[in-house]
Amino acid sequence: MENKESKISRRKFVKIAGGITFLVTGYPLWARYKHKEGVETSLEKEISAWVQISTDGEVRIFNPVAEMGQGSMTALAVLVAEEMDADWSKVKIEYSPIDPKIYGRSWGGGRGGGTMMTVGSQAIRGYYENLRHAGAQARYVLLKAVSEKWKVPINDLSSANGYIKSKQLNKKISFGEIASFKNIEIEIPEIPVDQWKKPEDFKLIGKYVERYDIPEKVNGNAVYSIDVRLPNMVYAFISRSPVHGAKPTLTNLNELKESAGFVDVVEFDHGIGVVAETVQQGFVLKRKMKINWSKGSTAETHTSAKAYSEYEKIADNPNENWKVINDKGDASKSLAQLKNTYEADYKNDYAYHAQMEPLNAVASISNDGTSADVWVGTQSAAGAKITAVKALSIAPSNVTIHRCYLGGGFGRRSMSDYVHETCMIAGKIKRPTKLIWTREDDLRYGAFRPMSLQRLRAGLNDRGNLKVWQHSIIGTGGNLMTSGASTDYYTFEDQQIQMKSVDHGIRTKHWRAVGHGSTKFAIEAFINEIAYDQQKDPLDIRRELMRNHPRALNVLNRVAERSNWGSVTPEGRARGIAFAERSGSLVGGVCEISVNSNSGLIKVHKIWAVLDAGIVVQPDNALAQTEGSIIFGISSALKESISIKNGEVQESNYHDYNVLRMTDVPDILDIDMITSNESPSGIGEAALPWVPGAIAGAFLKLTGKKMRHIPFTKERVLEVLGS
């Protein structure tokens, strides 16, 4: 049967009539459109796909992704503006509607049509072609319109900085004036890649452009969902299971009802929500709730400190049923044959996202119950929408998600649990509701980077070269643990990667760089140990492994050169080196550390890092992301640990869940980016995974001792130094 929709959807046209709106005919979008003041002006207005040009020259570009600090809100608009030759000073950036068919991207690039999730450092590479193409189409429409109006051939026209110019007529016209043309209808063709701008002609891509969101982030005007206030709004808090899976029974409802400001309670499987007239009354009511929690959940039996010995037994078991991640050659057999082999176990604790804005959302349902508005900072726009639609039982077309800035995401905001909670409460009490997670809620009901134990085994041939590699990962959280275990840039003759996941009933989730944070630690720390034992330069051992990957080798050599690797370090300091790939980007890094043998504190003094991420759309922002990733990496290596006892999270706030602070940051963060015309790859996480392994390498060089358990807390350092 003929698929009419797909046939129509291939045809795109634009109509110029009091402004230019680029329509996609296959998907007529009807959405309520609101002005900034929150006043509904037009109920049914066609929404353009990527860009609108007003008669006053304003170019509105729609941003499909979450803005959580990674800066892609600006970078994506740059892609459109670049190809259409817009005047950047006239560009306004707004969140796009939530419709993955139009605004989604494909995993790993292509022309979109897939997910709207903002995860995995995917924004630039996922939209790079799609948005440049949209910009090229917009430019074509502008040229075509002028060519018809002025009756000149299209190739007589050129574009620059918001104007179209005719050589023949020697005059130019602004985009705003073109938008004022009447009744011109133009079919938009596909623009072949070879007609897009050449890199040497870029005016915005690869250049310095100030981030669009920064001015309102320094004057207090940036709106996060926690900032939304509505008339008649109430405040909701939830007391959630201290042990995951425990079900609540509220035992003092009558007492709560007597309390000032009580509005209602809302029961969930995982907790009890309480709603109050004021925020302070909400805090008080939350503390007052008396809840009996059911016993018998899986998590109750889990104590994280004890789980490692369980993992060791799994690693020891010759008959274990592993999930195979990668299997080249026969690592077990080769290891048995080689004389020169190494084995070591590496551990990592659970880690918490610790984004600065605790989870929250605001929901408001219309008086007749047929429509709803939800304000949320989310990495999963479509997920938030579906969650709200289901929780409220309101048709998707009547549920509007207002996307706000995210006070950090790092993976946690790709879940929609807090959206579900907010909508369930607002749906029950029928008043605008702000749900606030306290910091303690956010931490204790966190979804953590998995804990794991990694057993690494390696074999060297007679020439002392690394030949065989076996990497066994045991922990909780399934595939979250294994990202980054593969090492395509290192050549081993035999390489086996295998995983065993144990369910402890603990919530786990993607965390900045996901499993790379732990797998790259183990890999790089192990290589540094082998080099140390073999009395080889850890740079050289990696060079040899990178013999078939010139791009990675180039990155490694660059960082060695930049850091003057091998030079004499000051007394009491040592350097470590490591390499990692994440989201397609390659990073080599060197750190210089000292260790206080009395306090057990490791201090990172200097960092050198080199990044190869292909074409970099926004170099200064890429630098900022790299700085941030390195800080995050140091933080995870030295500080961050969630411990669980009988299912209960033991930490509660920033005083006992430590993250890196200002006095801990290195004096020098020297970052270099390799410029190339390779396809862009992800930058938001790339510089995190190499850090812990490099610190371990420096520690080994300095002390002769091996740090194999992240974080390298004072206590662990003292224990290792005393061993």
Binding site: V223, Q281, P358
Partner: protein, 155 residues
């Protein structure tokens, strides 16, 4: 838990609010007065996102009951300049400091309070003064650069 009228001086304007006396100043500023640039991060004075000035000195507003702020001159991020053009804000833009931005009001308020008492701080003094304000995105090195930029410009 009954409510009481409190009159506060915020950004040189008088506001009278009817709230429970234990309500932390943070939530009065945010939810009653509507100045939402000051953020909630921890509620324990350990992250600094809620930092405002009380008579020019930095104060973690998440642990100060509103009753304790009466009679003081309270300044929030919204009150340091008319158009976001305080030298510290301009330096923050020039150095492209914020990422997610959530902690930055607190960072800026803390940084201004440093220069109020020490116009030429060393890097170590900057670090130590700013240590109470967490930035999870890791913008610390840019914050230092921005503060040093303002210090240089003042010379």
């Amino acid at each position: 838990m009954s409510t009481t009228n409190f009159t506060l001086n915020v950004n040189s304007k008088k506001y009278t609010v009817d709230v429970e006396p234990e309500t932390p100043l943070l939530w009065v500023i945010r939810e009653y007065i509507g100045l939402t640039g000051t953020k909630y991060g921890c509620g324990l004075a350990v992250c600094g996102a809620c930092t405002v000035h009380l008579n020019g000195k930095p104060m973690r507003s998440c642990v100060l009951p509103v009753s304790g702020a009466v009679g003081s001159k309270i300044t929030t991020i919204e009150g340091i300049s008319e158009d976001g053009n305080h030298p510290m804000q301009e330096a923050w833009i020039k150095e492209q400091v914020p990422q997610c931005g959530y902690c930055q009001s607190g960072q800026i308020m803390q940084a201004i309070s440093l220069l109020n008492k020490n116009s030429d701080p060393s890097r170590e003094e900057i670090k130590s003064h700013m240590n109470g304000i967490i930035c999870r995105c890791g913008t610390y090195n840019r914050i230092i650069k921005a503060v040093e930029r303002v210090t240089e410009e003042n010379k």
